[in-house]
Amino acid sequence: MVKKLITQDTRMFLTGNEVIAYAANAAEAEFMYGYPITPQNEIMHTWCKLLPKTEAGFLQTEDEISAGFSTIGGILAGKRAFTATAGPGNVIMQDAQSMAEMMRIPFVCAVMQRGGPSTATVIYAQQETRLTCFGGNGEGFRIVYSTAGHQDLYDYMIKSFNTAWKYRFPTFMLADGYQGKMREPVTLYDPKSRGITMEPTPAALRAPGVIGVDREATHLRNTFNLEEELMEQLDKYQIDYDKMSKEVEEYLEYKAEDAEVLIIAHGIVARSAMTAVDELRAKGIKAGLFRPITIRPLPVEPMRKAVKRAKQVLFTESANGQLAQMCLEKLYGLTTPYQTLFKMGVGVTGDDIVAKVETMVQEMANV
């Protein structure tokens, strides 16, 4: 049993990577497997620095392939284990993540996005959005929370463990290099004080009892002989996924109720959008924000309602429309016109969004 460091509400001034390590401890995580990659390293560093006090475990593996599969191993043994990665590391961890999808393993991973493709930058991007949602040779049976700052990092890291173990789909907390490296105040708390009970983490392998007498055999498959066998299994997963979706979907609306221009953004860019919304409203432009917090599954119904209400939509991302593509498919049939503000691997500022929305409003007036 690990020792929890945070027993009462504690205000701290931390980097996001430090927050994640504290959150994993608050969630009673027992083991982290990982391999160094910027901008994720300090999650591992902080986790390790705290080990003498937490009495948890850590294994640095030889690469992310190994880190992913080791995490699966820890989970099968009944440990609340997790990993964290970024960029090219996220790419090569897809093999293990796909296996977790196929075998319904409660895999938990924090992704701190950096610029891509390939090594690119070590700083920041939102270019692992599609990869984190749909990476691997499968259908994206995953849950992805996109965070927008340190309080989110703490809240959703804790939540990721419970979502993963409750629904048995791999669960990701998608953040980025800004959130990992930046410092801002955050309130750490004991989940119990917020009425959060951690889901139990029973072992899948070497569980106690005699097979056939005390318990059923555990049969985790990732290999199938017949096409039909595979589809039968995946159809069942799809039913589970759709049922679960309604329960886990989360979103945040900011002044979206009467918005004429609706900004759709996720993660840290949504925070810039909130700054922009305030500035635009001060100038008399009715702007609002729709921020999907779960970007897989997307909160489709609320998003469609918000888009339908608006006169125009703006998609903005630090990528070339990875979220927009996922949303547009779900918005099929609606006729609200949209524009885009995409900056590949570069932060979107409030000023960027204000300027773009002003142009959109002007264009609309000229029609």
Partner: protein
């Protein structure tokens, strides 16, 4: 809503991030809302290192801003890099004893300081960045000297206790840095 946006840029190894850390720690301890992003490449040394700091009275939205209120550039490359963060409302401070070029982007005011030269000649090259912190403190005028001294204790207290003369040296550098800017709160 009062929000001060600061860009601090220099060569890797000049202590840009160390200064930024002390500044934001001081702001946090003083009860301000803070958001600090260190921005650097893959180099251990060299390359331009940039710190984006925001100090505000209310919760901060955007993590990265387009234009800084105050920009401090400590090398030629940093001057060039910072042009993009400069607007007509920005005050640009540069170290004329390090840089061979001058900031040319349109801005409200350019202030030249000679912190590197003065640190080398009168104190120690090691407190160059603390002198810059003094410049920043006076130019922004959102934090008090006491706040910065508290944050220096948090960051450097153990070193100070081992060698008390270091505390005096750093305080002196801080004051000399403050004296380099004429106007309080640019």
């Amino acid at each position: 809503m009062a929000r001060t946006k600061i860009v601090l840029a220099g060569e890797g190894g000049q202590g840009v991030q160390s200064v930024a850390k002390i500044l934001v720690e001081a702001g946090y301890e003083a009860g301000k809302e803070i958001l600090y992003i260190p921005n650097f490449g893959v180099e251990q040394r060299g390359g331009v290192s940039v710190a984006f700091c925001q100090i505000a009275d209310e919760k901060i939205g955007e993590p990265r801003f387009a234009k800084g209120d105050i920009i401090i550039a400590l090398s030629d490359r940093a001057i060039a890099r910072c042009e993009t963060y400069t607007s007509e409302n920005s005050v640009v401070v540069y170290d004329s004893s390090v840089c061979t070029t001058k900031p040319t982007a349109k801005c409200k005011e350019v202030i030249a300081v000679e912190a590197n030269k003065i640190a080398n000649e009168q104190l120690s090259a090691r407190v160059f960045n603390i002198m810059i912190l003094g410049v920043l403190l006076k130019a922004t005028n959102v934090l008090k000297l006491e706040d910065i001294k508290n944050a220096m204790e948090i960051a450097l207290g153990k070193k100070f206790d081992a060698k008390p003369e270091l505390r005096e040296l750093n305080y002196k550098a801080l004051e000399m840095g403050m004296a380099m800017v004429e106007k309080v709160g640019v």
